[in-house]
Each structure stands twice: as C-alpha cells, then as structure tokens.
C-alpha cells in the first residue's frame, strides 16, 4: 500500500516538473533532476520495504566519537 503511495507521489511530482523542462529543451536540468528523482525514489522504496535507510548522520557521529574522540561527554549525573 505504501509503495503505491510512494509511486503515486513520484508520478505526480514528475508530471509537475519534467514536461516543462523537456518542452523548453533544458536537457542539463532534466538530467540532473532525473538523477535526484532516481536516488530519492530508491531511498523512499528502501524505507518503505526495509523500514530503514543508511543514516549519514550516524556515520558522522561514529567518526567524531570513535575516530576523533571529540564528541561531548554524556550529561553529568
């Protein structure tokens, strides 16, 4: 059900964005936007089906905390 909703949202957004770009022959914009659409679509589908997506923020936290040892200490008490 959620997958259908995700596909519907992407189709509606695509209808709003792409026809104008293609009619104006703005190919660079079309390609860049297409790449973002594909990436976000994959993320959305991953989230709906697997329930989780890789979090860059946790990777950054891991780097700051475990590699740099610079994160704030846990709150006192």
């Amino acid at each position: 059900m959620l997958i259908v909703l995700v596909i519907l949202v992407f189709v509606l957004l695509g209808i709003a964005d792409f026809p104008e770009l293609i009619s104006k022959k703005q190919w660079k914009e079309t390609i860049i936007l297409g790449v973002f659409y594909a990436g976000v679509f994959i993320l959305a589908i991953l989230q709906v089906t697997r329930g989780e997506i890789p979090s860059p923020m946790m990777a950054i936290h891991y780097f700051i905390d475990k590699c740099l040892h610079m994160s704030f200490p846990p709150p006192p008490g």
């Binding site: 957004l13 770009l21 936007l33 860059p56 610079m70 006192p76 008490g77």
Partner: protein, 406 residues
C-alpha cells in the same frame, strides 16, 4: 547569458525588478532563526545549571567574533553566497567540493530541525499523531515558503516582535513563581562544563545563522551582511537570554530533569482559574519559528545546488528535495538513543562549517587576492582585457562571479 551569483541572469539589485532584502530584514530573520533553536538549549542547562544565563552572555560575545569573520568574507566578496564564495576562493575543483559539503550541511540542518519539530509535536502536543504526518505538513508549508524565495525573510520583523511580546508576557505571568535565589550559587561548576555549554550554544543556535549568507546576492547592500547578522545575534541572543533567565528563575533544580525546560516553565503559569494552559501559545510560536528555520535551510540547500550546477530555476528542486527531507528525516535516527547520541557530536560537526571553513576561506582569500580583492580584480581585468584567461582563477578573479562564469 550572464549568470549571477544568485543564478537569475542579472543581479537582482541591478535589474531592480525584485525587491531586495535590507540589512534590518536580515537581522530580524536571523533573530527568528536563533529563537527557533530555544528548544535545543537543554544541553546548556545540563552543563552549566543555574549559571546558564552567564553561558548565554559569553556565547553571544564570542559569536560576535565569529560573525566578524563572516562579515569580512562578505565585505571582501560582496554578494557571494557560500557556494560561489567557495568556488571563488578555492578555485573550480576544490571550490565545488567545499560547496557540495555546504549544501549537504544545509540539507542536514533542515532534516535535523524537522526531526526536532516532529518530536516536539508528537511528544508535547499531539501524542497520537504519526510523526510522518507532522513531517509532511511542515515540509509542505516550508515548500510554499521556499517557492517565494528570499521574500520569506521579509515578514520576519513582525514575527520577532510578536515572539518578543509573548516571551515578555510569559515572564510577567510567571513572576509569582520566580525565585531570585535560584541563580545562586554562582560559578560553582567545573570550567570544562562552562566551556561545553558555551561551545554548544555557539555552534547550535548562534553561529548557525551562517546559513543566511545564502541571501547575500539578494541584499540591497551585500557588503554589510556581517553587520546585519550581528544585529540578528543581538536580538536573537537577547530573546534567548530572556528565555534562559525565566527558565532558571522558575524551574531551579527541575531544569536538569525536564526534556524541554522552556515548555515546562510555561506550564507553570496559573493566574486564577482562567489563565492557564498557555503552553499551547508557546507551542504555536515554536512550530512557526521551526517552520521558518527549516524553510531557510531548505532554501539554502536547493538554491546552493542550483548555483553549483548553474541552473537558473531552483524551483525544480523544491518537490524532490521536499520528499528527500521527509524520507531522510524518517530514517535519520532509529531511536531516541541515537538522537541523543547525535546531540553529543552535533556541535563538533557544525564547527567544521561554521568556524573552520570560514576561517580557512578568509585566509586563502587574503593569500590569493591580497588585502583589496576588488582592486586586484580591477587591475587584473585591465591586464586581461581582450584575452581568454579563462583557466587562471587568480588572473580573472571577479568577486561578483565564480570562476567559469561568463
């Protein structure tokens, strides 16, 4: 076609068709941005307890120094946003990498703030509402604001006045619950705790107004962006100070145990039997300011991206980035534990973008272009007249355009 730093053909100020941002409008907008973070200052209370008011004052003073660096960048390269600034200072390749990092930073701010707004709404106001519904509703409003462009900042003056009025009113209504003894004893925490509190304040609410550098090309006088941001620090910092003083005076030791001290202190307001439950007023203010903050970060991310790819119409990214922000916000933290863990790293993460990179940019700008980059530009423009010179960034440097622009 001539591209401008704001990616809209001629500079907006030159064509005179678009209403530009004044320094005062930018000051109020950045103050509103700071006030939106009042939910995120719990760490200050945790580390400096009843001395948090002192931490706020010191953090405001230090932030003025950091804003001074932004101001110097703004004066040396007037009308340049962080994306164009990176390209102009570091050159085409390294500049694009740094610009992409800034875009990621702005996007991450939008995601993290949306996460905070969603948590606040579902924990404090609408506990049975699925958080995704809150995310979608907020991001739809943000997308509408972003579609208006820099005009979203023009109405913040009224909002700041309203917020200030409500904060002062809250303080007056809480007067019977406030105790001056709650501020005592003074300076009893270890110095490290004050450092952590001040550093946390500096990075999370105060210096985050660096995001407003994205509006540099949309200002009437872009060279005074530093002064405008300093004005924002004064107004926003003062409002933050009022919040902290009120919370300490009203809550005392309970400060450490509540997740949202500001919300808890307003819950204490009880005048007779009729003037109670005023927290909903604060919640409305907080959601509005959060929406504004997310809109500014959302705008900075997609406008930055459009300028990086030299795309004139940033509107094409609004829909897809709105979806990306919702998807990423849902997946950024799997649990409250992860969110709390992130809060320990957030100030360090921000330091790279808000202090280290701006200082490096300023140093490199001095090294490459000397004391007067605009004179250098005029001189090199004369020498290079009629020549190609397209590949030498230092020779054809123009502070109002990034390398590669024609």
């Amino acid at each position: 076609m001539t591209l401008s730093p704001n990616g809209a053909g001629l500079r907006a100020s030159e064509c005179g068709l678009v209403s530009m941002l004044s320094a005062k409008q930018l000051s109020y907008a950045s103050a509103l941005f700071i006030v939106a973070s009042s939910l995120l200052i719990k760490a200050v209370y945790v580390f400096s307890l009843q001395d948090s008011w002192l931490s706020v004052l010191v953090a405001i003073l230090i932030s003025l120094l950091v804003i001074g660096v932004y101001g110097m960048l703004g004066r040396r390269h007037p009308g340049m946003c962080p994306v164009k600034l990176s390209e102009a200072v570091f050159g085409r390749v390294v500049g694009k990498v740094v610009a992409a990092m800034y875009i990621f930073f702005f996007l991450s701010l939008a995601i993290l703030n949306l996460e905070d707004a969603g948590s606040f709404v579902t924990v404090s106001i609408l506990p049975r509402t699925p958080v995704t519904i809150v995310y979608v509703m907020v991001i739809v409003v943000c997308a509408m604001a972003v579609s208006k462009g820099h005009k979203m900042c023009m109405y913040s003056t009224m909002m700041v006045i309203l917020v200030a009025f409500i904060f002062v009113l809250n303080m007056l209504l809480l007067f019977n619950k406030m105790e001056l003894e709650n501020f005592l004893p003074v300076l009893t925490q270890p110095p490290k705790n004050y450092f952590l509190a001040i550093f946390g304040l500096l990075m999370l609410p105060l210096c985050e107004i660096f995001v407003f550098m994205i509006f540099a090309p949309d200002m009437k006088k872009p060279e005074i962006i530093g002064s405008a941001l300093k004005g924002g620090i004064f107004i926003g910092g003062f409002l933050l100070f009022i919040i902290v003083v009120r919370d300490i005076a009203a809550l005392d030791g309970y400060l450490q145990y509540t997740n949202n001290p500001t919300f808890s202190s307003i819950r204490l307001i009880e005048i007779g039997d009729f003037l109670t439950r005023l927290e909903i007023l604060y919640a409305s203010i907080l959601i509005t300011t959060f929406t504004f903050k997310i809109s500014v970060c959302f705008y900075a991310a997609i406008v930055g991206l459009a300028r990086l790819f030299r795309i004139e119409n940033y509107h094409i990214f609004i829909g897809i980035f709105g979806v990306l922000i919702v998807v990423a916000t849902r997946g950024v933290f799997e649990s409250t534990f992860e969110h709390n863990e992130w809060k320990r790293s957030a100030p360090i993460y921000s330091t790279l973008f808000l202090i280290i990179l701006p200082i490096i940019m300023l140093l490199v700008s001095y090294l490459r272009f000397g004391k007067y980059p605009q004179k250098r530009q005029a001189a090199s423009g004369g020498e290079n007249a009629g020549t190609d010179g397209g590949n030498d960034d230092s020779a054809d440097y123009n502070p109002n355009r990034a390398p590669g622009e024609t």
